[in-house]
Amino acid sequence: MSSPEQTAIRATGLSKQFGQLRAVSDLSLEVPRASIYGFLGPNGSGKSTTIRMLCGLLEPTSGEAHVLGLPVAGNASRLKARIGYMTQKFSLYGDLSVRENLSFIASIYGLAGRRARERINELQRRYDLVEQQTQLAGTMSGGQRQRLALAAAVLHQPELLLLDEPTSAVDPRSRRDFWACLFELAQAGTTILVSTHYMDEAERCHYLAILDRGVKVADGDPEELKRETGMHVVEVLGGLVGELQETLSDASDVFSVTQLGISLRVLLPTRCGEPEARVRALIDPVDRGARVRLVDPSLEDVFVSATRSPSR
């Protein structure tokens, strides 16, 4: 993943300063072609700012980015024809119909006449918009609008698709369908960079970067990240969840405790040799009935261990 033909995005030391706020600092990343690369991070972690720098909407304060083999600085307009961008907020026209929106975008990208008609028909079929084609975009549901936005973003068959929290306003079912479309596009060779704050979405990415307050705190493929958390995850199933959580949080070698329904997820650094025994020892004085077992780290555990400093 080092030759320019195989790398869609290469950024080195990318930083963006807004007045006092350092939105992104010293971010480097490499996105291989035809892959789905995820940005996972809470709101305000610099996901949108990074995406905007990558498509030339914002100028980095320092650092540089190469996209599709070209430096973004000075090539923003040339890259526009090769990049598809889906904004966080729905940005097509609410007072135009589905078909009118798509023909507008088609003309903007130089597609006219029969070629435009055929492409629009094809997209309407693929993204299940045939019945809505005369409906005004503003009156559609979140899922439909999002499919329309994706159809508009891929209309000119871009090599790189930048999606800024595409599913934040969409129900789970539509989200699943949406991801099926993304896999289809990646299969066909499109590189996709998608930002999200949903763990289940992050899990589907080929590669993942976790951002926290403008800093990339971890990256790799999801499995690798889970393997290399440096944490043991112990699940505690017991009656006095609240008290157990309090006791465990007070222990200095426990990294974090999260409640999940009636169970607790306890993270302990791997240097702690016998995690189950350690947890057992901690909780026995409170609740002897609680069950304890070692489980595999989930992506959420990765996220927690990467974004929270151990010192607390």
């Binding site: 923003a76 961008y85 904004t87 907020k89 940005s91 009118e100 023909s103 005004l136």
Partner: protein, 364 residues
Amino acid sequence: MRGGLLRLAAVMVKEVRQLSRDRLTFGMVLGMPLMQMLLFGYAINMDVRDLKTAVANQSGSMLSQRFLSDVRQTQVADIIITTDSPQSLENLLRRGEISVGIHIPSDFDRRLTDPNRPAAHLLIDGTDPTITAVANQLTSLVPDAPSGLTATRHIEVRPYFNPEQRSAVNIVPGLLGTILTMTMMLFTAVAIVRERERGNLELLINTPVSTPELMVGKVVPYILIGLAQVALIVALGQLLFEVPFAGTIGNLYLGAVVFITANLSLGLLISTVARTQFQAMQMTFFVMLPSILLSGFMFPFEGMPAFAQFLGECLPNTHFIRIARGVMLRGADVADLAGELRSLGLIALVALGLAMARFSRRLD
């Protein structure tokens, strides 16, 4: 090049489609001229008639009676009160019950032959300049001296181009420019801000559409709308107020195209400065008010101080009102209007150039 035209056409089609669905804006296109014409044409009537008048005739002579009947005939003054002393006239005036008081002294007939003493006194409510101007006309009614002594002939006023001095004739051409200023500038002032507010702009600036394509595409549909408004206003002016049309409609349209473009460009410039639609409207009013007050629409341009005149010259409306009055009332042709057309063209170019330079294709 083909791609550029395609994109330009796409922006124009999009604008027209959006406009056709925006009932409020569409209503403004038709309703604004209609409402303003009726308002300015009927309500803001500068032909002052039937001023409330009181008379204190201390003479009662034949000549004084004749003078008063002349006053009545002008229809400028409506004599509603007859009293006996100048003091009571003053009181009536102070209380606002009358606008004009006529005092005829007891030696009226004798005074008529005496060039050193005024024959009668006209007491006028000076708080309203229009009333003052109109009431002054009454001074010309002082009757001729009875005997061979010829009284001073008053200067006869012969207003050209509007012999009956109907204000609608003056107002309609000015109104044409003022209505177009209001609607046209507002359309484009909110145009780009609205797209920014709705998030459309973030998508647009990420496509190959260029700044000139976007700007020109937004301006052209509104030029057509503006020309339709011109037709509507001119037709209403003829229908309702019988405003004459001395020149050719082609000349008026030539001026209108340049004028509308100048206004739309100014609107675009506002749109690139304002952050919200509300700000854009505020800034529009900032231009609108001088366009009404300093353009010669309401007050004569010649009477303004040099600085106000300079500001007026920077406003498209000033130039267009001259064009419209010239074409509609004097029958002026292109050669007469060349200077005004040049000024309008210059304003349009400067505003459009600034708007394009200011429009950022980035978000920071």
